[in-house]
């Protein structure tokens, strides 16, 4: 078994042109990367399923697509594949954090010098090293191209940078100062639903995240207590996992600024914010009757915002007559769906969409319409979909003791994940 997960790493655009080439060992050449384009990306063999891991000859190709870019790790022998993919996803977030925007072809070209510099620190001899942006920013100060390259502020190198990045609390510098100590804690819950056409809930779960923004001086230790409903959680590097295992208290010295403290997942006791009742009737070969009713299952004191409901209709739709009790709806030919947008949906209310869809009669015998599912996007501020609650947030700074004052802000929001209703 080999740890080394990338003898070389490449970035390609969708055409298969090489945008970045960084070889960590010299047993891989550019020609090998060309094989990726000819044999994997542009493979003529459409019968084979394109899996993200392929071996050609002695080289194994592991690739990931992000926006309009392919990231490729080439390795040999028997590498730790999960390490390679995990590393690639970390690179994506690292670059995003430096660019201050998304990772795409244009941004890669505009920042190639920076990328080479980052790749130098992120991996050595194929072994992942440091990919945490908060840590790397103390070693590499160059900013992404959004800031004018030549006018960038020359930050002074921290003489202790190297000690800090390799140390036990690598994610936080000593001596951070704020006039006013503030900490923001956001409980963001994403609710996923898969419902059958007869209204049975097939799967539903909540993917929760706690996002923190810490503007705190010195070396504070934070303790977050949750009611013990959390089934399955993963934590940021800064959290002491052993303490959590023993006492169920999340204890950590936070990185400076914004970060994701934890993720969790709940299956049981999920309260779905919206119930959807679709009725779609095919009336002969040229007409479709659609009736979708949505009920808000939360308190009337709060409301949902930015809602979009997509109701797919057949490819040969000619037009649709729509009637909605709230918001706006229209037929979108490119999405092959009725798009219903609602800007504000009060709790405990219900709204419906009725549509009469006219189809173009086709002469040739068609396969029956597969009835793709209805999907829904929404946000409901001040709501929780799981029973997870933040019980307390305590902050302790050992040197300052009781002199250490902090303003604390705790908010919550529920968002739609994959909210899918089969029809």
């Amino acid at each position: 078994m080999a740890l080394s997960s990338a003898h070389a790493i490449y970035f390609f655009n969708l055409r298969g042109d090489i945008l970045i080439e960084r070889r960590y060992r010299d047993d891989v050449t550019r020609d090998v990367a060309e094989n990726f384009r000819t044999q994997i990306l542009n493979s003529k063999d459409s019968s084979a399923i394109q899996t993200p891991v392929r071996t050609l000859g002695s080289c194994t190709f592991m690739h990931l697509r992000h926006a309009d870019v392919y990231i490729l790790c080439i390795s040999k022998n028997n590498p730790n594949v999960m390490l390679a993919f995990s590393f690639m996803t970390s690179l994506v977030s690292l670059f995003k954090s430096y660019f201050g925007g998304d990772l795409n072809e244009a941004n890669i070209q505009n920042n190639f010098v920076l990328i080479y510099e980052l790749l130098d620190e992120a991996m050595d001899f194929g072994l992942p090293q440091i990919t945490d942006p908060t840590i790397l920013k103390s070693l590499i100060f160059q900013k992404g191209s959004s800031i004018d390259f030549f006018e960038k502020k020359k930050e002074k190198a921290d003489p202790n940078a190297t000690l800090q990045v390799t140390g036990a609390v690598s994610w936080r510098k000593e001596g951070i100062k704020y006039k006013k100590n503030e900490v923001f804690l956001d409980l963001v819950e994403q609710v996923n639903l898969l419902m059958s056409s007869n209204g049975t809930i097939l799967t539903s779960d909540v993917q929760g995240r706690i996002m923190m923004k810490c503007l705190l001086s010195d070396m504070p230790e934070l303790r977050v207590g949750l009611n013990d409903k959390v089934e399955d959680a993963t934590f940021h590097q800064c959290v002491n996992l052993s303490t959590y295992e023993a006492q169920k208290v999340i204890t950590f010295v936070p990185p400076d600024g914004e970060f994701e403290l934890m993720k969790y997942r709940c299956h049981d006791g999920v309260s779905l914010p919206f119930k959807v009742l679709p009725v779609i009737n095919e009336m002969g070969r040229t007409r479709l009757e659609v009736n979708v009713q949505i009920k808000a299952a939360f308190s009337s004191k709060i409301y949902g915002i930015n809602m979009t409901i997509l109701v797919p209709v057949p490819d040969n739709t000619a037009k649709a007559n729509l009637l909605v009790t709230n918001g706006k709806a229209k037929y979108d030919a490119t999405k092959k769906a009725l798009v219903w947008k609602i800007s504000k949906f009060m709790g405990e209310s219900d709204h419906s969409l009725r549509a009469e869809v006219t189809l173009v009669a086709t002469t040739k015998e068609k396969k029956p319409w597969v009835r793709p599912p209805i999907s829904m996007q929404f946000q409901v501020p001040m709501l929780s979909a799981s029973s997870v609650r933040v019980a307390y947030l305590k902050i302790l700074e050992r040197k300052m003791g009781s002199e250490y004052h902090v303003d604390k802000w705790v908010r919550k929001v529920v968002k739609s994940g994959e909210y899918i209703i089969r029809t």
Binding site: R25, A48, I49, T89, S90, N111
Partner: protein, 897 residues
């Protein structure tokens, strides 16, 4: 302004421009120049000639600039070894810089430059950096030891670097510990020896460091812990206790490596309570992995598949999380489906079936087919659900979507085999769809059903007859099945029409076919029916053993081996590393060990394999009671077919349908490459060009007494770097005294190119599970390497011809009678004829030819002078690689012979 502009210069003379800028005294201009060179390097332009100018930029205070020059140096030092030495001074100086970042940068870069002279100078700086006060420098130096080992293992030994690396395992800094560990593991991988030698003492240190190091460091440590050899349950408990919290890490790689460790400790731990507690904690992290990017999910799913086979209880209640989402990529859906089948049970079957039914109505054909198969597999494995499954299948078949019907018939055939005489009432529905069956497997399945239940189907003879009309055009699978089913019909209902049919089929199958399997089988039936009809009944209508669903289930030994490889490529392919790791060294070492493992192959993405292979050989072992044709090989009909997986049809007959067994189509006589009577193996073969790819045509003759399987092919380094596309040969098991042919596609692997004078020699290793690794040498004919796109313009040819030095012409003893046909043959062999003219003052004619040799991408130019009808021709050769001359002469001779 952004760096994008550095890519924009594409005009001619840019190299010169770069030079100017690099030599500029103005700092910002110089830096711009360096950036442009790196940009040019990135897009694949050759900027090697700027090496001296770039080296002159190396001594700078600007760290960013220095890094870029170092990057350049890593890429090009190998091509300019003599100039690279210029850099040594700067490296050595930088390795003593007061700034730890620069010290680390120097030692990191030096380790990546594989030039002997530089390596010599690396040792002292490395020695110092391993003891540096700054942990950042130490962690970089630790990895540099592994780099050095890869270049020169003796040097690492001589200078005692290994011991220093082991000392670093006790370093106070967690990242240094993790990197030292990673370096040792890499060295272990390179050398094949146990370098870690983990003691109890180091174990404790690693467990301590685990808490504090970076996420990647945690993976290094966890992977080392998974390999820790212990039989002591107390060790296992101690390790598991520290590792369990890691399963909650946000990084998927940490989670999966932690799971690997816990799975391993479960095997050692003796307390059932503890194992149960650990199992319970393992379910949520496994499920959480499915929330990540699809590519990560894919790797996770392949591993979960293994976990579910070993410890089904862990995820027994979680089948819902594997339900496919509408927009999951197809490769994720396929894996989820496989796991759903494994988790399906009495308790959840209703829900699971509803899902399968939903999937069977989606759009992606592959996925739909797999969903239909899934229903069939559940029916076979869960007896109480069989009826429900059949109902769902019938519903799907009634929708009359062509490929659903076909797939449905195939799985219903399996269900009939699993539960004989229980669901025949549905045959009528199946018969309604007879006309829509056009795929061989579906047709063969339907024919089998008709034959098997001939006595209950009133019009069985009519139904079979409809198929018989097209008998000669059918696929061999269908033909074989038709033959057997007609015999069954005749034995069960010896009516007049059946009699007519049987004589028709037997005469078709014996007189009008080239397929030896079909012919042999027909003769067997014929003789059986004419000598002893009762014996024929015993054989053809024998009770068949009940099948089970073991598709994708790995054998226990292999499963345990794979579970130790969780998270690695091996776990994704479900194959032991020996099956795809190409390093010869490793292959040889592990060859013996491999023989102990018998495994059934599974369909693997990427490295696809033959899933039906393993069984064929086993079929032969069930020896016939009557030796009918005095043949040693050739299976008995249906008599004692071994039970086997759902999905194939061949075993229904107990016969051998795989084309490569028993006296297949006679292969053209190929040169014998290896004949090893002690192993009972003869290999014939030749490298040729087929459809634009280099192909190894191989004939493997098994003269031993046992079946041969697990064939793999690997090549050593050679002039052209030829190697097989897939190491695993797509050849099913070869029965004793039979022959298999394979056309193995080859590719050029530039890492396998052997420098030095060109040679046609290719050293090949062939491995089988039975005979182990065998070596032979072959010659690569240059003609097979000439590329289709190898023609050049006449003018270019002329220029090249003028500039290249002349070589001694060779006289070939060949006679050409028709110059046009000779030209055609040359052209067809990718030696392109650019000109054909008479040689003034003689009766000779001259042909000017050119071709491009693949792998090394070299153009060869050839002049042939000959007189039509007169023996002998003079061939002259020119090329940048003059050492290709002999091979080119051989190629011309071969083509014109």
């Amino acid at each position: 302004m952004s760096d994008g502009k550095y890519f924009s210069t594409t005009k001619k003379g840019e190299i010169h421009e770069f030079k100017e800028e690099l030599r500029s005294l103005e700092k910002s201009k110089k830096k711009d120049g360096v950036k442009k060179v790196i940009a040019a390097m990135t897009v694949g332009k050759d900027v090697a000639m700027l090496f001296p100018d770039m080296m002159n930029c190396m001594q700078t205070e600007d760290l960013e600039l220095k890094k870029l020059v170092y990057l350049y140096c890593q890429n090009y030092a190998k091509t300019q070894p003599d100039l690279a030495i210029m850099a040594v001074n700067t490296f050595v100086k930088d390795s003593q810089d007061p700034n730890p970042l620069i010290r680390a940068l120097a030692v990191r870069t030096m380790g990546c430059i594989r030039v002997d002279k530089i390596t010599e100078y690396l040792c002292d700086p490395l020695q110092r950096c391993l003891k540096d006060d700054d942990p950042y420098v130490r962690k970089t130096a630790a990895i540099c030891v592994a780099k050095l080992f890869d270049i020169n293992p003796e040097l690492v030994d001589d200078r005692g670097f290994l011991d220093q690396l082991r000392d670093l395992l006790s370093d106070a800094n967690p990242m240094v510990v993790a990197n030292a560990l990673a370096a040792l593991q890499e060295i272990q991988e390179i050398s094949g020896k146990d370098m870690l030698q983990l003691s109890q003492n180091t174990l404790m240190k690693l467990l301590t460091a685990l808490n504090d190091c970076t996420e990647w460091g945690q993976v290094f440590i966890l992977d080392a812990l998974a390999g820790f050899e212990t039989r002591d349950p107390r060790d296992a408990e101690k390790i598991a206790e520290r590792v369990l919290p890691r399963m909650q890490h946000v990084n998927s790689a940490v989670v999966l490596s932690a799971i690997k460790v816990i799975l391993r400790m479960m095997d050692i731990c003796q307390s059932a309570d503890l194992v149960a507690a650990w199992s319970k904690k393992m379910a949520p992290p496994l499920v959480t992995l499915l929330g990540a990017e699809p590519e990560v999910q894919y790797v996770a799913l392949r591993n979960i598949n293994l976990v579910v086979q070993k410890r089904p209880s862990i995820l027994a209640n979680e089948v819902k999380v594997f339900f496919c989402k509408y927009n999951d990529p197809i490769y994720v859906k396929m894996e989820k489906l496989e796991i759903m089948i494994k988790l399906a049970s009495d308790k959840n079957i209703d829900q699971v079936l509803l899902e399968f039914k939903e999937y069977a109505q989606e759009v992606d054909v592959d996925f739909v087919r797999k969903a239909v198969r899934a229903i069939g597999r559940c029916a076979v494995s869960i007896e109480r659900a069989a009826e429900k499954c059949i109902n769902v299948l019938l519903e799907l078949i009634k929708a009359k979507v062509n490929y659903v019907v076909q797939e449905g018939v195939i799985v219903i055939k399996d269900i009939f085999r699993r539960y004989p005489n229980r669901y025949e009432n549905i045959i009528a529905t199946l018969c309604e769809n007879l006309d829509s069956l056009d795929e061989p497997e579906a047709k063969a399945s339907m024919v089998w059903i008709i034959g098997e239940y001939a006595e209950r189907i009133d019009n069985a003879d009519e139904l079979l007859e409809t198929f018989l009309d097209t008998f000669p055009e059918e696929n061999s699978m269908v033909q074989l099945q038709l033959l057997t089913s007609t015999v069954k019909l005749f034995l069960k209902k010896p009516t007049e029409s059946a009699q007519k049919m049987i004589s028709l089929v037997l005469s078709c199958a014996t007189n009008e076919t080239d397929n030896p399997d079909l012919r042999d089988r027909a003769f067997i039936y014929w003789r059986l029916l004419s000598t002893d009809p009762e014996a024929a009944k015993d054989v053809v209508l024998a009770q068949k053993p009940v099948i089970t669903d073991d598709v994708g289930n790995l054998d226990q030994g292999l499963l345990d081996q794979l579970l130790r490889q969780v998270a690695t490529l091996s776990s994704v392919y479900h194959k032991p590393p020996e099956m795809f790791v190409s390093r010869q060294r490793l292959a040889v070492q592990k060859a013996d060990e491999l023989q102990d493992h018998q495994f059934e192959e599974e369909e693997v993405p990427g490295a696809a394999s033959t899933s039906t292979a393993a069984v064929a050989a086993a079929a032969t072992s069930a020896a016939p009671q009557v030796d009918l044709l005095n043949l040693d090989s050739g299976g008995p009909e249906a008599a004692a077919a071994p039970p086997r997986a759902v999905g194939g049809i061949d075993d229904l007959l107990g016969g051998l349908d795989i084309s490569s067994t028993s006296s297949s189509t006679p292969a053209p006589q190929l040169p014998v490459l290896l004949s090893d009577p002690s192993k009972g193996l003869v290999i014939q073969g030749k490298i040729l060009r087929q459809g634009g790819t280099v192909t190894y045509a191989l004939v493997i003759i098994n003269s031993s007494a046992s079946p041969l399987d697990g064939l793999m092919l690997q090549t050593n380094r050679s002039t052209f770097g030829l190697g097989p596309v897939n190491v695993v040969l797509q050849v099913p098991s070869i029965a004793p005294s039979s022959t298999a042919t394979a056309l193995v596609p080859m590719l050029y692997d530039s890492t396998k190119i052997l420098p030095g004078a060109a040679s046609s020699k290719l050293e090949v290793a062939m491995k089988t599970n039975q005979a182990g690794v065998l070596y032979f040498a072959d010659a690569v004919p240059l003609a097979s390497l000439l590329e289709e796109s190898g023609g050049i313009e006449g003018q270019a040819f002329l220029n090249a011809w003028k500039t290249l030095p002349p070589e001694t012409p060779q006289r070939l003893q060949l006679t050409v009678f028709n110059i046009e046909s000779a030209k055609q043959r040359l052209q067809a062999a990718n030696l392109f004829v650019l000109a054909h003219r008479p040689v003034p003052g003689t009766s000779q004619e001259a042909l000017y030819l050119t071709g491009k040799v693949g792998g090394i991408n070299v153009q060869v130019l050839v002049e042939v002078r000959l007189t039509v009808g007169v023996p002998g021709m003079d061939v002259s050769f020119k090329s940048e690689r003059t050492d290709l001359a002999t091979m080119t002469f051989e190629a011309v001779a071969q083509i014109l012979a």
